[in-house]
């Protein structure tokens, strides 16, 4: 464990404390999960977002610029899974990556609880934009999906991300 990593762990910055290999493994596993087990995990329309999880953790670990780049890459990955509005996820996730990285840099938010809140907030913001665009003016449908799917998915994502975080912080 390097000195920087050790210091980060001592300050409770678990994402920064992860080794590069372990962080890459987290991203890879999350993407595989996004492809494979997101669907079976759906509960009443709510599902954990395994693309938002690495985005938030990457932005926290790498900062605003690389957070934005990660958001763009992960957004394109998400866009490639949908055959509609190519670039929309990339746009929103770029902004989210930048904003989370910036928040981490300027507000010195380092506790794991804040990371979980950022996860929930990022997923909620992403869903608001995506659902809003998909609704195309049908606001009643948007409302229903927002309350049934977006809020539940945000909580679900935060819980799964928090569990992953604890798992990785312990090992």
């Amino acid at each position: 464990m390097s000195g920087l990593t050790r210091n980060a762990r001592a300050r409770g910055q678990w994402a920064e404390s992860l080794s590069r290999g372990r962080f890459a493994a987290l991203v890879a596993v999350s993407l595989v999960f996004a492809l494979v087990i997101e669907e079976p995990l759906v509960i009443r329309g709510a599902a954990p977002d395994f693309v938002v999880i690495p985005l938030v953790f990457a932005a926290i670990r790498l900062g605003a610029a690389q957070g934005a780049a990660a958001g763009f890459g992960l957004g394109l990955f998400r866009d490639s899974l949908f055959l509609l509005d190519f670039g929309l996820h990339a746009l929103v996730m770029t902004i989210l990556g930048y904003a989370i990285g910036k928040a981490r840099e300027t507000l010195y938010l380092t506790t794991p609880g804040v990371d979980v809140l950022l996860l929930a907030g990022a997923k909620l913001a992403l869903d608001v934009v995506i659902l809003g665009m998909a609704a195309e003016g049908a606001w009643r449908a948007f409302e229903e999906r927002f309350f049934w799917e977006a809020v539940g998915s945000a909580v679900y994502t935060a819980l799964v991300g928090g569990a992953l975080q604890r798992l990785l912080a312990r090992t």
């Binding site: 492809l35 494979v36 610029a65 490639s80 190519f86 670039g87």
Partner: protein
């Protein structure tokens, strides 16, 4: 200064990527779709193999769990079918048996039994309302089970032959002659036949109720002789070990015989039961009459008591 430069760099990178995303979004639909499809193939095709493997594994697990549940259900159903078949066979045998008897047989189910290694009492689901009274013989199609000792309106308590207080007047069917004695349970859970000292029996000789005891009619199978011993510890009696015909652990349905025999009556006056496959030699060699009854032991709990 360096922090400012880093912040500006981040803004530049983010802006460039936002603009790129907007350009992607603004592309004509056909181009957008073409890029989307190409990216889709690029990401999904390599991933599809992983998805198929993992998805298949997950499906297999689900299917495995479902099949396990179905297998358990099927096993339970099979057990029920087997139990029903066994019960049906038992009931049919009892029905055939009941049809040939000269007495009224009250069919009953064993609804409870005392929880010891060897049952000594059964509870039946018939009582006074069905015509059951105390001291009636309880039998199966195989032979003797016990007798009723306590009767309620809907249930009856049966003292089975393994009960320490049980005794029955018995008759040994030994080839060319008959021997009278009394059957009692042994402390080890088997049955013992007490006979006069000069009696002779051989292993395999069948033992039935004599009909003299006052409870059981004549001819109810009790068991067969396993081993004969010369005498008990005082040397006054001969004691044989018996193998009972009824396995109490397997008894689920029984008959209560409603017609009682009179205590101390001669064999000819007593009712004789006919057990299928258990016909013993005719009573030709038997001396009937009061003299023959003298000294013949009675069934437990009857007026003349056990010897």
């Amino acid at each position: 200064m360096q922090a400012l430069r880093r912040a500006r760099r981040a803004e530049l990178v983010a802006s460039a990527l936002v603009v790129t995303s907007l350009i992607l979004l603004a592309l004509p639909e056909s181009t957008e779709r073409s890029i989307s499809r190409r990216a889709n193939h690029l990401v999904l095709l390599p991933a599809s193999r992983v998805r198929v493997v993992f998805g298949g594994y997950l499906r297999l697990r689900e299917e495995n769990a479902r099949l396990r549940t179905e297998l358990q259900q099927a096993k339970l159903e099979l057990d029920q079918v087997v139990a029903a078949r066994v019960q049906s066979r038992e009931l049919r045998r009892m029905l055939d048996f009941a049809a040939d008897q000269p007495v009224r047989l009250i069919p009953a189910r064993v609804i409870d039994r005392n929880l010891t290694t060897l049952p000594t009492a059964f509870v039946l689901d018939v009582g006074r309302n069905a015509g059951v009274v105390e001291n009636l013989p309880v039998v199966t199609a195989q032979g003797i089970v016990g007798k009723t000792v306590d009767v309620g309106p809907e249930t009856s308590l049966v003292m089975v032959y393994a009960h320490p207080d049980f005794s029955a007047s018995a008759l040994v069917v030994a080839g060319d002659h008959l021997e009278y004695g009394i059957v009692r349970p042994s402390p080890s859970g088997g049955l013992r036949l007490f006979l006069p000292l000069r009696s002779s029996t051989d292993p395999g000789d069948r033992v039935v109720t004599s009909g003299y005891g006052g409870t059981f009619p004549r001819g109810v199978p009790i068991g067969h002789v396993i081993e004969g011993q010369e005498s008990d510890r005082l040397g006054l009696q001969r004691v044989d070990r018996l193998q009972s015909v009824v396995d109490l652990g397997r008894v689920t349905t029984v008959f209560v015989l409603t017609r009682q025999v009179s205590a101390g009556a001669a064999a000819g006056e007593n009712l004789q039961m006919f057990w299928p496959g258990y016909a013993y030699p005719p009573m030709a060699g038997e001396v009937l009459g009061a003299s023959a009854v003298e000294g013949v032991p009675a069934d437990s709990g009857t007026a003349d008591g056990a010897p």
